[in-house]
Amino acid sequence: MNRSAHPVVRIDRLSKIYRPKRTLGSSHSSHPVIALNQVSLDIERGEIFGLVGGSGSGKTTLGRLLVKLEKSDGGKIYLSENDTTRIRGQALKAFRAKVQMIFQDPYQSLNPQLTIFDTVSEPLIIHKTSSRSTRIKKVRKVLTTVGFSPAEDYFSRYPHELSGGQRQRVAIARAIVLNPEFIVADEPTSMLDATNSFQIFNILSDLRKKQRVTFLFITHSLAAANFLCDRIGVIYHGNLVEKGPARQIIRHPAHPYTKALLDALPSYCQDPACTFHNTLLESPRDLPGSSHYCPFFTLCREADPYQCASETPNMIHLSATHSAACFKAG
């Protein structure tokens, strides 16, 4: 693959801080939450990039920033090398036709009052791309793509008449009906059982193969990311700690947090040759007094009490494609 040639999406030191709203009467102010801290990433055309991290690590936040559901507090987002960080008006509308999102909860992401046909055809109406008869054709085509056959039977159904897996496939159909370049899929299978998840995985990887759609696939499971993704980024408390080809990350994890995630996989260590990395502390350490320290310091067994507590690690290149933010890596 011709790397770094033309990334579809490039994000450069993107940050997001949630500041607590000041309400009258509450004198104690809670801390602002740094949901994303200077995250930089390239996503190549036609790849599925996996974003992996624990709960609350900022995965959804990154996805919502990428599709412009939220404003960033610093950094830049480029789509096909065009700066899209501050676009509005017509430019934003054109952007919306190219970038789509699949949400986590299929029970919440479809309007209960609209039929499947109305839901899937809405993007076409908004972007005025076609007449009613071509809309019907397009909707039929995308519904078939996501595995509804015959698609017509589902046109006049309502979300409450579908199963969770079917709803999520409708959500995918809506996301692809405009032929977008880039889709953010935020844990699309976390509410589904294994069979349905597998079906969704297949649909996503088919879309990538046949239509060259690029995906940011958000998940909390390294196993799912390994199955589906070409490259993986691991995020911890808003910091990107490791990124690289999926195989590389699974076989040779460099960051202690990635190792901890691998340890947590139930099926990972059946191979007797592989050992637990055992990088997590049983009880978290106190925060160091200094203002710069490794974000994983409090939980890291391998941390150096001097260096890790006084410096913030930068991304270190371990190979041309693999890098990790840890002093001990490489």
């Binding site: 934003l92 609209l114 908004i126 809506r174």
Partner: protein, 312 residues
């Protein structure tokens, strides 16, 4: 079975109506469990029959016209008789036909002013809730200002300033003063709806604010708006009756409040119970029945109750 695409186009097109009917049906299943709701509906049906029947008496004989039909043989108030089932008023007009016409006026006043206040309240509530920020603050402060104004008093002052108000002006004024409570309820509903992921999904596809409000939020707040409409009807009928009784009604219409005013003004308050009681009872009953229907609908809209019933 292969289905032709023309048929499918048709079914996709017709679907929203079917869904509406289906929801109506499941709502009805919950509604009919409610005794008060059934009583309310029966009473409303009676009043509706009265309103519809109000056209009949003048057709039988012009002397039964509620406004201009004066019985040539009678020029004072008489009690019930075969010729005048509820008696006549002070110039010999038939009270029964006035009562029927009063039902029609009550429906017109109640439903049209409730409808207008619901339309205004729903739109203001949705816009304020969805837009948030300054728009929200301005609209809600305006709602507060209108809400604390005593409706009856303000309309009385206006009537005193501008002379007799026509019935449609009164309807309009009642609507203008009654939207804030609706706006508040719809706003809070909108606030919770706009956090739902399907609104985010619509934003991601590029939907405008207009589209999100009217296509995605409105269908979800409409049942609540409808519920509030029944309560608005009650208050509109009461306000119109009070205005008419106080002598600020439209002299060209025969409403129940107007009838009460005539009883009082001509000094028949304690002499002619056959004249005083029917409009009084009708006002109480119609407001009561709208209220009961509203309470029963409230139950239908409560999702918890709805689910329990669906499981049975």
């Amino acid at each position: 079975m292969p289905v032709t695409s023309a048929e499918n186009t048709f079914s996709a097109y017709r679907s929203s109506r079917f869904h509406f009917l289906e929801r109506l049906k499941s709502g009805w299943l919950v509604y009919r469990e409610n005794l008060l709701g059934r009583i309310g509906l029966v009473l409303l049906a009676c009043f509706a029959c009265m309103a519809a029947g109000s056209f009949i008496p003048p057709l039988i004989d012009p002397i039964y016209h509620p406004m201009s039909g004066v019985d040539p043989l009678i020029s004072y108030s008489t009690g019930p008789s075969l010729r005048h089932w509820l008696g006549t008023d002070f110039i010999g007009r038939d009270i029964f036909s006035q009562l029927l016409t009063g039902a029609r006026i009550a429906f017109i006043v109640g439903v049209s002013s409730a409808f207008m206040s619901i339309v205004v309240g729903t739109i203001v509530g949705m816009v304020a809730g969805y837009a948030g920020g300054t728009t929200d603050t301005i609209l809600m402060r305006a709602a507060d200002v209108v809400m604390v104004m005593p409706t009856l008093l303000v309309i009385l002052i206006l009537a005193a300033l501008f002379g007799q108000l026509s019935i449609w002006i009164i309807v309009l004024l009642i609507a203008l003063f009654r939207w804030p409570a609706v706006a508040r309820v719809i706003r809070s509903q909108t606030l919770s709806l706009k956090r739902r992921p399907f609104v985010d999904a619509a934003r991601v596809t590029g939907a405008s604010c207009f589209r999100i409000i009217f296509r995605h939020i409105m269908p979800n707040v409409l049942p609540l708006a409808l519920l509030y409409m029944t309560f608005r009807v009650t208050s509109a009928i009461l306000i119109e009756a009070a205005l008419a009784f106080l002598g600020f009604g439209d002299p060209g219409t025969v409403s129940w409040g107007m009838m009460l005013q005539w009883v009082w003004k001509t000094g028949h308050m304690f002499q002619a119970p056959y004249w005083l009681l029917p409009p009084g009872i009708c006002i109480s009953l119609i407001t009561l029945s709208f209220y009961m229907v509203g309470r029963a609908m409230d139950e239908v809209l409560d999702p918890r109750l709805r689910k329990e019933k669906a499981l049975e």
